[in-house]
């Protein structure tokens, strides 16, 4: 069906903070009961991670909401701007904070990743690159676009706490620089600067510092907004397959 009055959305995939936040409100009222607060309430559908049965495009999302399906999704009567808001909220990875973002061209983004961005000097994708910083093979699956954008522009603010650089001095005098995988009351699991996986008992540690800095440089001002949208589209496309 063609909606003559609908605005052309082809230009790019831009999702505003207002749309995402409006989508969040609609979602909590109408979708959350079945899909859950994290978007994973329906078996093998994960809205936050863009895991769908049939949906691919933004228009597919609109169609699913308005027509429903035979598997139990009821049809909803919503205004076009409400549909846009829900699309934005789903595409944001159910980002309640509503960080606005724009997705450009993933192919151009890969060229920036490999070239101007120099990302592979620290990161790794599908077995290529360094392990010094987190492996990005499935980053588009596990992180929201808004989070990744924040990491690119304000790395300190965007760093996941588990990824903060740690320095450990053991009781037997070794100094270990690394990045954590996991931590609990008694132990910490990390990868050190020599890319060795270590599981250290806290009882063996003399000094333990979690750096509140980030080794990641900011790309604010280094990439223009089109390049940023392209790089983000590439990162979003990294789903781990």
């Amino acid at each position: 069906m063609l909606c003559a009055g609908a605005p052309a959305l082809a230009q790019d995939h831009q999702y505003s903070a207002e749309q995402i936040q409006a989508g969040y409100r609609l979602y909590t009222g109408q979708c959350q009961l079945c899909h859950g607060a994290n978007g994973d309430g329906i078996a093998s559908v994960n809205l936050a991670r863009q895991q769908f049965h049939t949906v691919v495009t933004d228009d597919d999302i609109r169609k699913m909401i308005t027509t429903g399906n035979t598997a139990g999704m009821p049809p909803f009567v919503l205004k076009p701007e409400e549909l846009d808001a829900l699309v934005a909220f789903v595409r944001s990875g159910l980002d309640q904070g509503g960080v606005p973002f724009r997705l450009g061209d993933a192919g151009r983004g890969k060229a920036i990743y490999d070239g101007k961005g120099g990302c592979a000097a620290c990161h790794r994708v599908a077995g290529m690159g360094s392990r010094a910083a987190p492996d990005l093979t499935d980053v588009g699956f596990i992180r929201r676009p808004g989070q990744m954008l924040t990491s690119l522009t304000e790395p300190l603010k965007g760093t996941m706490p588990i990824n903060r650089p740690v320095t450990i001095v053991t009781k037997d005098g070794r100094t270990i620089h690394g990045r954590r995988f996991n931590e609990d009351t008694f132990s910490v699991q990390l990868i050190d600067a020599q890319e060795k996986m270590l599981s250290i008992q806290k009882s063996d540690i003399r000094q333990y510092d979690v750096g509140m800095t980030s080794a990641m440089p900011s790309y604010q001002g280094k990439l223009d907004s089109d390049e940023m949208a392209d790089l983000l589209a590439y990162l979003v496309s990294l789903k781990g397959q």
Binding site: L33, T150, M160, T185
Partner: protein, 550 residues
């Protein structure tokens, strides 16, 4: 031949009657549950809910020799919050959504498994939980997610009767284990996220017929109705989803009442909103209210008072007192006189900024935070439903806490539709980075991505006289484990990280731990068979049972 047959029949009858007499769990036996520590007859070990056992074979010297005896694997994924009962060597427990099983408490082998599939219309806010069964005579009682109460033959697992307690289409549910008091089964309903009007009801164990009902949200003409405006009471919430306590000498039962509805928008329901976030003391024969104490009037934070009331007799200011101890989700620890409901004392036990303190009557002096600013404790509270313990030997109250944990609350006008979410906004846990994973209701996996930057956990021993901590065992991740303590001054508990701990209950010294690999959320239980003491705990999807190495 005929003679032989009749003799045989006689022997059979005698055997059957003998077995019957042995297994009968009378209400008198339940009332004296603490005096038969080889069994765990009621949710909290006794009506006081102290979760204190006089078993002492496992002690501070030998606890390091505990070894796993057997496990039961949960066949249904999801947080397993069941509290087992143990009766004369048989363990009765539930698994999601409403399965009941009987297992040999010595080996873990299963006798029978009863399955109930709740109506697909069932709605629960926080998972398909069930916290266990109650037993009276030879009958087990279990509440269901679609708000039925079902009686089962304890020896066969077959249903005896099935009573509809409330309407599933209006999102009523039952997740708590029922409470047996004398000749009645008491149970409450969940659903305060869906605009229910909560209640506690009593049922006849023989027939399932309802005997009385106490609405936790008073209606026109009831005392407390003045704490509501207009029709707000009709959707006032006040769920009851954790175990109550009973004092036979006072003939009073005590239940904690959940949040008002809608959860997060107090301006939509002006007034104190009784008896939400309160403890109510009821006459178990009639359901009549004797007294109440409200912890959080006009709550805007979902601070359910669905904690398990812990009863103890102790000296208070030089006089013997019957008290109730309560570490509330709102971050304050309270001691009440359980005869009258009078406030004896209360102190914050974690960082609190929604109130600056409590007045002389225990009423909070509320200090709402500006929109967008964090409120402490956060939505999941300073503690929550997981059962605490009290040791009359140490005089200490033990519970799990969430430290330095806050949420940003969002308020919205909620529109009531039967069976639909009626929350009035939302709550977001603080995240260490924008949009980063943060702590939530249940742990989402074995990796702690959020770290301790947004809150951590602890096992705490509290002196009820001072409201001050005597010892704290800090945990890196938040902790929602229940407690169990023994006459050998051991405290058993765990946390989200999957460690199962035994502490010196007096000092908090860690004496033994083992990594079971899954969150420990409900509390351990202990029992004995043929003189051997066992400790059982649920971690993730296994129930694991320990005893001293032979």
């Amino acid at each position: 031949m005929r003679q032989t047959l009749s003799r045989l029949l006689l022997i059979c009858a005698a055997l059957f009657l003998g077995a019957e007499a042995h297994a009968q769990v009378t209400s008198a036996r339940i009332e004296r549950a603490a005096s038969e520590p080889q069994n765990w007859l009621v949710y909290g070990g006794a009506y006081t809910n102290q979760r204190y056992s006089t078993l002492s074979q496992i002690n501070q010297g030998n606890v390091k020799n505990l070894e796993q005896q057997w496990v039961v694997q949960n066949q249904v994924p999801g947080a397993w919050e069941s509290n087992p009962l143990v009766v004369d060597g048989i363990m009765y427990l539930t698994q999601r959504p409403n399965d009941v099983m009987a297992v040999d408490a010595r080996t873990g082998k299963m006798f029978w498994l009863y399955r109930w599939t709740p109506d697909p219309a069932a709605r629960v806010c926080c998972g398909a939980n069930n916290r266990g069964v109650a037993i009276l005579g030879d009958t087990l009682f279990v509440g269901t997610l679609d708000a039925h109460l079902i009686a089962l033959d304890a020896k066969t697992g077959k249903p005896l009767w099935n009573t509809v307690v409330a309407d599933v289409k209006s999102a009523y549910s039952i997740t708590m284990a029922p409470l047996i008091v004398k000749d009645k089964i008491l149970v409450g309903v969940g659903g305060a996220e869906f605009g229910i009007r909560g209640f506690i009801a009593a049922f006849d164990p023989k027939t399932g017929k309802e005997i009385w009902r106490f609405y936790t949200i008073p209606g026109p003409g009831d005392p407390g109705f003045e704490s509501w405006k207009g029709d707000d009471w009709k959707t006032g919430g006040g769920s009851v989803w954790t175990m109550g306590s009973y004092d036979p000498t006072l003939n009073l039962v005590y239940f904690g009442v959940g949040n008002p509805g809608p959860d997060w928008n107090p301006s939509q329901r002006p007034g104190d909103n009784l008896y939400s976030d309160s403890v109510v003391a009821l006459d178990p024969d009639t359901g009549k209210l004797n007294w109440h104490f409200q912890f959080t009037p006009n709550d805007g934070y979902d601070y359910d008072s669905t904690q398990v009331p812990v009863l103890a007799d102790m000296d208070w200011n030089g006089k013997p007192a019957k008290v109730m101890m309560w570490a509330n989700r709102n971050g304050f620890f309270y001691v009440l006189d359980r005869v009258t409901g009078k406030f004896l004392q209360g102190q914050p036990f974690v960082k609190v900024n929604w109130a600056s303190g409590l007045d002389a009557n225990g009423r909070p002096i509320q200090t709402p935070q500006p929109p967008g600013q964090p409120t402490y404790p956060g939505n999941q509270g300073g503690t929550n439903w997981y059962p605490p313990a009290y040791s009359p030997r140490t005089g200490l109250f033990y519970f799990s806490v969430w430290e330095n944990y806050g949420s940003v609350f969002r308020r919205e006008e909620a529109v009531y539709q039967p069976g639909r979410n009626f929350a009035g906004g939302g709550a977001t846990g603080l995240a260490p980075a924008p949009g980063a994973t943060t702590v939530g209701i249940g742990r989402r996996g074995p990796i702690d991505y959020w770290t301790s930057e947004v809150g951590s956990g602890a096992t705490v021993a509290m002196d009820p006289h001072t409201g001050k901590r005597v010892w704290t065992f800090p945990q890196y991740d938040v902790a929602d484990a229940g407690m169990m303590t023994t006459a050998s001054d051991l405290l058993f508990t765990g946390g989200r990280e999957g460690y199962f701990y035994a502490f010196d209950a007096k000092t908090g010294k860690l004496l033994w731990k083992t990594n079971l690999g899954g969150s420990i959320v409900n509390a351990p239980v202990t029992y004995a068979i043929d003189g051997r003491q066992y400790v059982s705990v649920i971690s993730g999807n296994i129930l694991s049972t320990f005893a001293l190495r032979n």
